[in-house]
């Protein structure tokens, strides 16, 4: 079946290349049938890619070890769901998966926006086709998943540390996010190529951007949770280049989400938005490059890349081409209005954008600097945690504060007096909380204290927004408080969904501040019968047991956890030893407190199974569970903003009827 896969990929490449070339010609010469033909080719590209993917998935599920890829990434004993996840677990398969998502998104995008201006769509097709053709070229010629061999008796299997549910969801979520940024990019460039001066591309791609951004955000949180629970070094984010690879496009996309609102409302920042969407897309591809090329000292890297140089070349070409296009169309991108006041909601959006982009670029520098240093001086350096922590505080804390200020400021021009009135309540609450926190001992970390105080300010201003809005709605339309609240949110989904997302970010900030600035760490070697004290908890080591699972030898230490004289149960950290893969894994024990949201996190090292001593590392992390809670709130907020709004659709339809074309988003 491998030849079928290879053939299908060739067909896909042909379709996408045709979509790119014929589509470009059709858009240039305004040939309607050729443009339609190119669009159909894009759809056919998806079909062919889907068939190729099906071939690979079938081989993975069938243990077809004649496929080199299957033999390298699965084994006979591997459960079916991890055999499926091997699709995105290796270099070639994940490239194919990327192509699948890309062609899938492209098809949906061109079909859903079918009536959004023929001249615009005519350019969207060749752009998406070019991106697709590039990735198809990679899977056809550079990193094909369809190499065959003599079937060995068994495959190499999947690293035990990857055999967990996170492997099933974290990579696909990230890919759905990364690839999703291609759509707004394509529509933006198409707008420039079609010489359209309107905002249709923003209207059409708004939900795409939101969706991609939400997937990227959730994917990252899942990755953090995976690191925390499964990998078990005690943290959830290590500023590893591959982690940053997902953070950077997410930050750029966040900035973009905000600044397009300004363009929609005021017709400003057109050039800025074009540059941002190019940045977000290029960072997404760059992130892919970082993960695949093995160029950076990262433990996430795939094999030394054959793919790396191609991706880098693609990024350079895309960046150069897009910038040239934006520059060429600069006269068309003149704003209709200007910023009236530096104290206005537009201005706060601008400041927020600047901070987000600054943070994004500092992270980018931290990632790229080792590469540049090697290329220029011949010596590699590593940029470590303190660098990132510093800039996260310098840019992140003001961003946090802005989230609370923004909603309180009016559009166009806000009088300072009105602003002062609006701020007073939340500011007083925040200061009071700050003082209370100092009294409780939170003064030990100044950034942590600042983060907490700012967070209270933001939460208070968000709550105030909801209260004021519900009250106004109730005075307008009557009804009970809950109904007024419901209809308030339903009628202003973007605004209030946005507030919910802001609340999620604040919860995240509190969780991060608590679990990093205020955590306690203690390491000690204990023999059975001994105990240790950490942050008010007593941990008593009772003994070690040994068990056996289907593929591992499991060593567990048993610890009795108590606080004061109240017993909190037992936890059992330990290690698993996998004879087939000749490796071991850390099995940490975490005890969640549902009241205080803190975790007691225990790592057991160098376990002497014959009743000897064990090294325990105990971390007490306050408020860490807020981070995961924030994820749930984030999803809720995103859903609210994404939810279709019939009234908005009617309004947009009326607008574009003026042009003789309807928009269906």
């Amino acid at each position: 079946m491998a030849p079928l896969g290879r053939a299908a990929l060739l067909v896909a490449f042909g379709c996408l290349a045709y979509a790119a070339l014929a589509g470009g010609y059709a858009a240039l010469r305004r040939r309607k049938r050729l443009a339609l033909s190119a669009r159909n080719a894009l759809l056919a590209g998806f079909g062919a890619t889907a068939i190729a993917t099906a071939v690979l998935v079938a081989a993975l599920l069938r243990h077809d070890f004649t496929f080199t890829y299957v033999a390298e990434h699965t084994s006979v004993g591997l459960p079916a769901r991890y055999r499926l996840s091997a699709l995105w677990g290796g270099q070639e398969g994940s490239l194919l998966f990327w192509l699948l998502v890309l062609t899938g998104y492209s098809s949906i995008a061109v079909l859903a926006a079918r009536r959004a201006g023929q001249d615009l769509l005519a350019w969207v097709v060749p752009i998406l086709g070019t991106i697709g053709a590039f990735f198809a070229f990679l899977v056809v010629a550079i990193a094909s998943p369809f190499h065959t061999q003599m079937a060995p008796p068994d495959g190499l299997g999947l690293t035990p540390s990857l055999q967990n549910p996170y492997m099933l969801i974290h990579p696909p979520m990230l890919y759905l996010g990364y690839v999703g940024l291609s759509v707004p990019f394509a529509f933006a460039m198409a707008t420039l190529l079609a010489r359209r001066g309107d905002e249709m591309w923003i209207v059409v791609t708004r939900r795409w951007t939101l969706l991609a951004w939400a997937f990227l955000g959730v994917g990252q949180l899942l990755g953090a949770h995976w690191a925390y629970v499964e990998v078990g070094w005690g943290g959830y984010y290590a500023w590893d280049p591959v982690e940053n690879a997902a953070l950077m496009p997410w930050l750029a996309a966040t900035a973009f989400l905000h600044s397009v609102m300004i363009q929609e409302k005021r017709g400003m920042l057109k050039v800025w938005n074009m540059l941002l969407v190019v940045l977000a897309f290029c960072l997404a591809i760059f992130g892919d490059f970082l993960t695949r090329s093995g160029v950076i000292n990262s433990i996430h890297s795939f094999a030394q890349g054959k793919v790396g140089p191609w991706l880098l070349g693609f990024i350079c070409a895309v960046t150069a081409g897009s910038l040239a296009l934006v520059f060429a169309r600069l006269p068309m991108l003149r704003a209709r209005t200007r910023l009236e006041s530096l104290v206005s909601r537009e201005a706060t959006f601008l400041y927020n954008n600047l901070l987000l982009v600054a943070l994004c670029l500092t992270i980018l520098w931290g990632v790229a600097f080792p590469l540049l240093s090697e290329a220029v001086r011949g010596q590699t350096v590593t940029i470590a945690r303190p660098y990132y922590d510093f800039f996260l505080r310098v840019f992140g804390l003001p961003l946090l504060l802005l989230m609370g200020i923004g909603p309180l400021v009016a559009w166009r021009r806000a009088s300072l007096r009105a602003l002062g009135n609006a701020f007073l309540g939340p500011a007083l609450l925040a200061v009071a909380t700050g003082i209370a926190l100092i009294a409780l001992g939170a003064g030990s970390s100044r950034p942590g204290l600042i983060a907490y105080t700012f967070s209270v300010f933001v939460l208070a201003s968000i709550a105030l927004e909801f209260v004021r809005g519900t009250r106004a709605r109730r005075s307008l339309a009557g009804g009970s408080w809950p109904t007024a609240f419901g209809s308030l949110v339903a009628r202003n989904r973007r605004r209030y969904g946005g507030y919910v997302v802001h609340a999620a970010v604040v919860l995240l900030a509190i969780g991060v501040a608590g679990s990093s600035a205020y955590q306690t760490v203690r390491e000690q070697r204990l023999r059975p019968g001994q105990s240790m004290e950490v942050a008010g908890y007593t941990i008593a080591f009772q003994g070690t047991t040994e068990g056996q699972s289907s593929n591992a030898r499991e060593l567990r230490t048993h610890l009795l956890l108590s606080r004061g004289d109240r017993s909190l149960g037992t936890i059992a950290p330990g290690k698993n030893y996998y004879p087939a893969e000749r490796s071991s894994s850390n099995e940490v024990a975490i005890r969640h407190s549902y009241l205080t949201l803190e975790d007691v996190y225990v790592i057991a090292d160098q376990i002497d199974a014959k009743g000897g001593g064990v090294y325990f590392k105990v971390l007490v992390k306050p408020l860490v569970n807020l981070i995961w809670l924030a994820g749930g709130v984030f999803v809720l907020g995103s859903l609210i903003t994404l939810w279709p709004d019939a009234r908005e659709e009617r309004r947009l339809a009326a607008r574009y009827r003026a042009e003789g074309a309807l928009v269906r988003v």
């Binding site: 200007r338 530096l342 590699t380 590593t382 800039f391 490796s583 090294y615």
Partner: protein
């Protein structure tokens, strides 16, 4: 951004200047990162560096014992190697033949690692940090 002199350009320019200023101050104070060296490049460096290489030969001792865990690290693409002694948590993936990164100082011909800085790379697979 069109019209009369818009404050947006000014704000953007000032912000860029501000960010660069903060950045330069930080780099001047905190330095430009830790040098990342292969065993063949170690000679003569007395400051804290990151050693990158492949674990070769037998691994002797326990990382939590007083004597520490001892092993040799070789250039990934070369033959030069150095002895390393490490104390602290041993990552799961650590094994002879794996690529590692560890911080430390070169002392008397031996690389004395900073506890807890040992990171093992798993080739050609997605892995998470240990």
């Amino acid at each position: 951004m069109g019209g009369k002199r818009s404050p947006v350009r000014l704000v953007v320019a000032l912000s860029v200047a501000g960010v660069l200023a903060i950045f330069l101050v930080y780099t001047a104070l905190a330095g430009g990162g830790t040098p990342s060296l292969r065993p063949s490049q170690l000679a003569g460096h007395t400051e804290r560096v990151s050693l990158v290489g492949k674990v070769v030969g037998p691994v002797v001792g326990q990382s939590h014992s007083t004597a520490g865990m001892r092993f040799r690290v070789r250039d990934v693409n070369g033959t030069a190697s150095t002895r390393v002694v490490y104390h602290g948590s041993k990552p799961d993936l650590f094994r002879t033949g794996r690529d590692i990164v560890v911080d430390g100082h070169l002392r008397n011909g031996r690389f004395v690692a900073v506890p807890g800085t040992l990171v093992t790379k798993c080739p050609s697979k997605y892995t998470a940090k240990s």
